[in-house]
């Protein structure tokens, strides 16, 4: 999804000369297409995420729309206060793109595990936070958030995530897309772990349990109506995220349920403290969380 997103960004920037792309010296072999095509709209500022976000704010205060790019926690946690004060409080058109969300760099160690970004970024003022599941969602949400011209966070996986949606799927932030319908349990997924949710629905069907699956790329805004519908039409709701379960996607879904006086059997599949310090490939790390179908069946 990384490659498709940068292609789409390059296309958007070609049509919008006010757009600038900044990197803190990451994106080798990825950003060259943008840099070569639009050198006047590109700057590698060096390894300095705090300054990069401040520079982005200064550009945006001077009429530019800015995308900052880096990996995992570097463009979010490293420069959190610059994002809070300089970008979000001033409501500036700056988008942060982080590649390698979750355990995409799982084997690189804890410094490269991006598992708090969604919850933390969604607390900042004026921001939209998106966690696409596949290249179709990533490209659609990039366009929507660029047109919004306000603070935005787009969390990408890496390269090679499979396409899960039809090419003409209608994707919008804050809008769930139902990919399966079943009567018993609703699986609400955000990000590329949607693929695991779909596999779990197949496994549950083989056991005679009907599972619905929704992709919810919007962490903020979130599709509250779809969450309520899921709770009213199923006996159980399980959220699925490649992120800490405390304060992340599942917690925000639970907030919606409580606010609407809905109390289905509820569970959160995602990262817990037990995984801290473990090192391994993305697939191996996600396997450690446990089996989604088992957890869903356990709620019934």
């Amino acid at each position: 999804m990384r490659t498709e997103t940068i292609e789409a960004l390059t296309q958007y920037a070609r049509a919008h000369p006010d757009v600038m792309l900044l990197t803190a010296d990451l994106g080798y072999s990825v950003l060259e297409q943008f840099a070569d095509a639009l050198p006047g709209q590109y700057a590698n500022v060096g390894v300095c995420e705090q300054a990069m976000v401040g520079i982005a704010a200064g550009l945006a205060l001077s009429g530019r729309q800015v995308v900052v790019y880096s990996i995992a926690n570097f463009p979010t946690l490293r420069c959190l206060e610059q994002l809070r004060n300089d970008v979000c409080y001033h409501d500036l058109p700056v988008m942060v793109i982080a590649v390698g969300g979750g355990f995409a760099y799982g084997a690189q160690g804890y410094t490269h595990h991006g598992v708090e970004d969604l919850g933390i970024m969604a607390m900042l003022p004026n921001i939209a936070v998106a966690c696409p599941a596949d290249p179709v969602e990533a490209v659609a949400l990039l366009g929507e958030l660029m047109r919004r011209r306000r603070p935005a966070y787009l969390r990408l996986g890496r390269a090679g995530e499979p396409v899960l949606h039809a090419p003409d799927a209608e994707i919008a932030i804050g809008q769930a897309v139902w990919l399966r319908r079943g009567a018993d349990v609703a699986l609400l997924a955000t990000g590329p772990v949607l693929g695991r949710a779909l596999a779990a629905a197949d496994a549950l069907a083989a056991r005679g349990i009907g599972a619905s699956v929704a992709s919810m790329p919007g962490i903020r805004p979130m599709d509250a109506a779809a969450i309520c519908e899921a709770a009213r039409t199923h006996r159980a709701v399980l959220t699925i995220e490649e992120h800490n379960v405390d304060g992340g996607f599942g917690s925000r879904v639970a907030d919606v349920l409580i606010a609407n006086r809905l109390a289905p059997a509820f569970g959160k599949w995602g990262v817990t403290e037990a995984l801290r310090g473990q090192v391994g490939s993305q697939g191996w790390m996600l396997d450690r969380i446990g089996d989604i179908a088992e957890q869903a069946a356990g709620l019934l």
């Binding site: 600038m20 006047g40 700057a43 500022v45 060096g46 300095c48 705090q50 300054a51 990069m52 976000v53 401040g54 520079i55 982005a56 704010a57 200064g58 550009l59 945006a60 205060l61 001077s62 009429g63 530019r64 206060e81 610059q82 004060n85 300089d86 409080y89 001033h90």
Partner: protein, 276 residues
């Protein structure tokens, strides 16, 4: 940059600085606010910038070709607002609402106030943003400049040095940093807490053009700030040696007045000294 135009009338900047000091004293007294010492040390820098250097139009705070002023030492809010009111960005009478309940003149510099470019208050944010502004001007081929007033204590923040490094590599000739070098920070003198000397040499080593001047000398400030860059293609720093609490005898060079606000008698004495 040889044909710079200043749209504001060239003012009597010494008179302006005196009025800014008086406003800031009254404001910190009324609001029982801190940081009068930091306001007084930067009074002359702000008076010369607003009165004789910045290309600005108070009737059009968003004029695209204006010079930008980012005050990174956001705790000097009282005197920043005083300067903007004196220049006509909003009524002088509103200064009485400084740090008041429900008012817009927050205790740290806030962008909702006309003429303010950036909300500051957390140190180390202003210079990267000013550098981004200077990059925008450079890419647009525009001649407006980005000025940033910094405290000395805030140079402990690493984000400043990221911007210092960035600005020289990108040859941001339109970026001008002014360090209000009053030698006192929160817990004691700069020498005691985290020595900056030799500050000018540090900037020079980063390939910046450097002016080192008396930050209360208006002619020197005007020459450094309004003149051409020290060297083509280099950002400029004005290391302005100042005195904390400058202009009020019992506040000068005293850490206490980073925190204390003047009571009625002290206010009266301070204002009398300014008029003397």
């Amino acid at each position: 940059m040889g044909n710079r135009v200043t749209l504001v009338n060239m003012m009597d900047t010494l008179g302006l600085a005196k009025r800014l000091r008086a406003h800031a004293l009254r404001m910190t007294h009324a609001a029982r606010a801190s940081h009068i010492g930091s306001c007084l040390s930067s009074a002359d820098i702000l008076a010369v910038l607003h009165g004789a250097v910045l290309r600005a139009d108070p009737a059009r705070p968003d004029w695209p070709d204006r010079d930008r002023l980012v005050v990174s030492k956001g705790h000097a809010a009282a005197i920043v607002y005083a300067a903007l009111a004196e220049m006509g960005f909003f009524p002088i009478a509103e200064l009485a609402t400084y740090a008041a309940d429900g008012g817009r003149l927050a205790g740290h510099v806030t962008r909702s106030v006309p003429g303010v470019e950036l909300s500051t208050g957390s140190l180390g944010h202003g210079l990267p943003v000013a550098a981004g502004m200077a990059l925008a001007a450079q890419r647009a081929g525009a001649s407006w400049r980005a000025f940033c007033v910094l405290s000395d204590g805030e140079l402990d923040e690493g984000s400043n040095w990221e911007a210092v490094q960035f600005a020289q590599h990108f040859r941001l000739e339109g970026l001008v940093a002014i360090v209000d070098y009053n030698k006192i920070q929160s817990f004691g003198t700069v020498a005691e807490v985290s020595e900056l000397h030799p500050l000018a040499a540090k900037f020079a080593a980063f390939n910046w053009g450097v002016h080192e001047i008396d930050g209360h000398d208006h002619a020197a400030l005007r020459a450094a700030l309004a003149g051409p860059p020290v060297a083509p293609g280099r950002p400029t720093v004005v290391v302005a040696h100042t005195v904390k609490g400058k202009g009020v005898s019992f506040m000068e060079d005293r850490l206490l007045w980073h925190y204390r606000n003047p009571d009625a008698a002290q206010l009266e004495q301070a204002l009398a000294e300014l008029d003397a």
